[in-house]
């Protein structure tokens, strides 16, 4: 694996394609921007790394080397790659317990993550955090949180700092913060409170919902009054977009616009990416859920 300690950020110059119409409800193939071979390989490598890392996590768990909870990300790699590969080192990301692939995309070395899972001092958090608490100051990975929703205010705070630097300290700062969370979190108070605050102060943040239709083992349809999460953005005064979260090119296109909006200071965006989790909520769940037909 080349360059484990970083990732290529700069996309080489390419001809300007025609601008995509802003925020289609779901992007279609016609609107996709072309990518170069290098970018394509970068995205593929990142997604393959995420998938193989997660498969290895599951193997290690079964062998008894990793304990506690391990939450796999198989199936949602496009969301992580599509968004995080557009970020700079100084941008912050926040995730919940399903944070390993986000960490990999952000540039945290796979060795540090696996060491952390094994509980070693060479882990990214010296073995003190574990699977659900991955942090990296160098890569601005602000966590890794065990309770759902509690990372969203932290991401809001990081975005607040970015705005503070711009407006109060008068520095040139266009850092954005990304908060990744699931559909179950979208019924939690902290989600709504942060949507309100982010839109109120036009914070440079993107809220990314990874909707796999299951909040742990409860169907989203049984827990949510209006399951179309992207609609909740406009209720707070920000755009809400729905995208196929299993197609990395579509996700990347939407991400580009959302992150661009945040960088320009136009405020937050809510992006709902529908992406199924192929291996369930965590390693403790069977791969074939017993009664997933509602």
């Amino acid at each position: 694996i080349k360059n484990p300690n970083g990732y290529k950020q700069q996309v080489p110059n390419k001809p300007e394609p025609p601008p995509a119409p802003p925020f289609p409800h779901s992007s279609s193939l016609l609107n996709l921007q072309l990518i170069t071979r290098e970018v394509g390989l970068e995205l593929y490598e990142d997604m393959a790394l995420g998938r193989s890392f997660k498969d290895m996590c599951a193997q290690m768990y079964d062998k008894g080397k990793v304990f506690g909870y391990v939450h796999l990300y198989n199936g949602q790699e496009a969301v992580s790659t599509g968004f995080i590969k557009l970020l700079k080192q100084s941008d912050s990301i926040v995730s919940a317990y399903r944070c390993h692939v986000h960490a990999l995309s952000k540039g945290v070395p796979a060795r540090a993550l696996m060491s952390e899972l094994f509980g070693k001092t060479t882990g990214c958090c010296r073995g003190q955090g574990g699977s659900m608490h991955m942090f990296s100051k160098e890569h601005n990975l602000l966590g890794g949180f065990a309770f759902i929703g509690e990372g969203i205010p932290v991401a809001t705070g990081a975005a607040f700092y970015s705005k503070y630097r711009r407006d109060v300290l008068k520095e040139k700062c266009d850092d954005v913060a990304l908060a990744f969370f699931g559909d179950g979190t979208c019924n939690n108070g902290q989600f709504f409170e942060c949507l309100n605050m982010a839109a109120l102060w036009k914070l440079p943040i993107v809220f990314v919902v990874q909707n796999n239709l299951w909040a742990m083992n409860t169907s989203q349809l049984r827990a949510t009054s209006d399951p179309e999460i992207w609609k909740k953005g406009p209720a707070f005064g920000m755009p809400g977009i729905h995208v196929d979260g299993m197609d990395v090119l579509k996700v990347r296109e939407v991400a580009k616009e959302a992150i661009g909006r945040a960088r320009r200071g136009e405020g937050p965006t809510l992006v709902e990416c529908e992406a199924y989790l192929l291996r369930g909520h965590s390693v403790l769940d069977p791969d074939e859920p017993p009664d997933r037909g509602m």
Partner: protein
């Protein structure tokens, strides 16, 4: 170390004069015994108990109605600030109410460091419900003194995220009780994130607000959150009680790299005191010696300090010499100051406004017993609020909180053991 048998033997070999006699001879024990001095006048029959302590010292104490007669001090005013660390009267300063002192400390720190900012409800344009941030929004702008929506969990989390990335926020809870809604963030992120991140992130946040029992504010606005937060690993807690230490602790908390919770009290905001003109800070981990004494150590904090000092006036009139310490640092305890005091007086009374069950007093009692058991002559007494929701009616509310007569009675009981 004397054994029980040794104690018995020693007692039988003591001369008769050490025991009270029916005669009206008055005996004084001016001798320094193991570092203490007792001036005891005996004018009537009383039982003297001679005890041999484990460190070899001999103690004498009277069981009876207490010391009386010879030792009435005509001008019994429990000395407060002069002898203590808050030697504000030594220098010419300026008089400030406690909330103004907090504001002054806050303003000085915001001037000093542009990364210091405030967030909370009503702190900006309104100037704060208790006027602690009055005028600061005009001076520093709306983003530095941020009016938040009523979403404690989220804006506390926002403060934590900002602190992780580089800011030094001060989060104000309009009432400490509202921070119950922020418990998730305070416990998981504020307290533990420094650890779970393997030390990568520090959270230099200050969470402050008024708590405690006010004047008939009702049960939910009269909560004492120090007992709930004390178990959260990674938090530091301090309680201010005077204008001097309010400003000092505010400044120290802002400069600290640790998450600090600063407990203020609703009823203490209008206390006036003269504080120095020049810049100063108070040590976050230090307790304050309010009144040095010899007979008993009274440990207290926040509003109960004033109830204790009021009781101290009565006690001094009665001939007792209490040592009053404002512990200030609720987590960690300043066991150095407290320990030195216990070694001197051998009796401890804790007076707090926290609930009896699981309160600060309970932890302090355990800590003192664990560390200074051999120096104690009596069990540690702890006066706390009753384990009930604070009633609205004023008389009932007064009964749930420790009052000066109870403190006097407790001291008398302990000093006669």
């Amino acid at each position: 170390m004397a054994t029980v048998q040794g104690l018995a033997t020693t007692m039988t070999t003591l001369p008769e004069t050490f025991f009270s006699s029916p005669s009206s001879r008055s005996i004084q024990f001016p001798a320094v015994v193991a570092g203490r001095r007792h001036h005891v006048a005996q004018s009537q029959r009383r039982i003297t108990v001679v005890g041999l302590r484990s460190d070899g010292g001999v103690s004498f104490s009277n069981q009876g109605a207490g010391h009386r007669g010879l030792h009435l001090i005509p001008t019994a005013v429990a000395s407060t600030a002069e002898a203590s660390a808050s030697s504000a009267t030594a220098k010419p300063g300026h008089e400030l109410l406690l909330f103004e002192a907090l504001r002054e400390g806050l303003e000085e720190e915001m001037d000093r460091d542009p990364l210091v900012c405030v967030m909370g409800e009503d702190v900006g344009h309104y100037g704060g419900s208790y006027k602690v941030t009055k005028g600061l929004a005009n001076k520093f702008g709306d983003l530095r003194v941020l009016d938040t929506p009523i979403a404690e969990n989220s804006f506390t989390g926002m403060g934590i995220g900002a602190a992780m990335t580089g800011l030094r926020p001060i989060v104000e809870g309009m009432n400490m009780g509202f921070l119950l809604l922020a418990f998730n963030q305070i416990s998981n992120n504020c307290g533990m994130l420094h650890y779970t991140s393997g030390g990568q992130f520090t959270i230099p946040i200050v969470i402050r607000g008024p708590g405690g029992v006010g004047r008939q504010l009702g049960a939910e606005h009269s909560q004492r959150l120090e007992s709930y937060f004390q178990s959260v690993p990674g938090l530091q807690m301090v309680a201010c009680s005077t204008s001097y230490n309010a400003k000092g602790l505010m400044k120290a908390a802002i400069r600290s790299e640790n998450p600090v919770i600063l407990f203020e009290h609703v009823l203490l905001y209008n206390l006036k005191e003269r504080i120095p003109d020049e810049e100063y800070i108070c040590c976050l981990e230090e307790a304050e010696m309010v009144r040095p004494g010899e007979h008993i150590t009274i440990l207290t904090y926040s509003r109960m300090r004033y109830h204790v000092m009021q009781a101290a006036k009565t006690l001094v009139n009665k001939g007792y010499d209490p040592e009053v310490i404002d512990i200030r640092s609720l987590k960690p305890f300043d066991l150095y100051t407290i320990g030195n005091s216990v070694k001197k007086t051998h009796r401890v009374l804790i007076v707090e406004e926290c609930m009896r069950t699981g309160g600060i007093g309970a932890s302090l009692r355990a800590a003192i017993m664990e560390n200074f058991w051999d120096y104690l002559d009596t069990p540690i007494e702890c006066l706390s609020s009753q384990d009930v929701p604070t009633p609205y009616a004023g008389t009932l509310e007064d009964w749930t909180v420790v009052q000066p007569p109870q403190i006097v009675a407790a001291v008398e009981k302990l000093c006669c053991m």
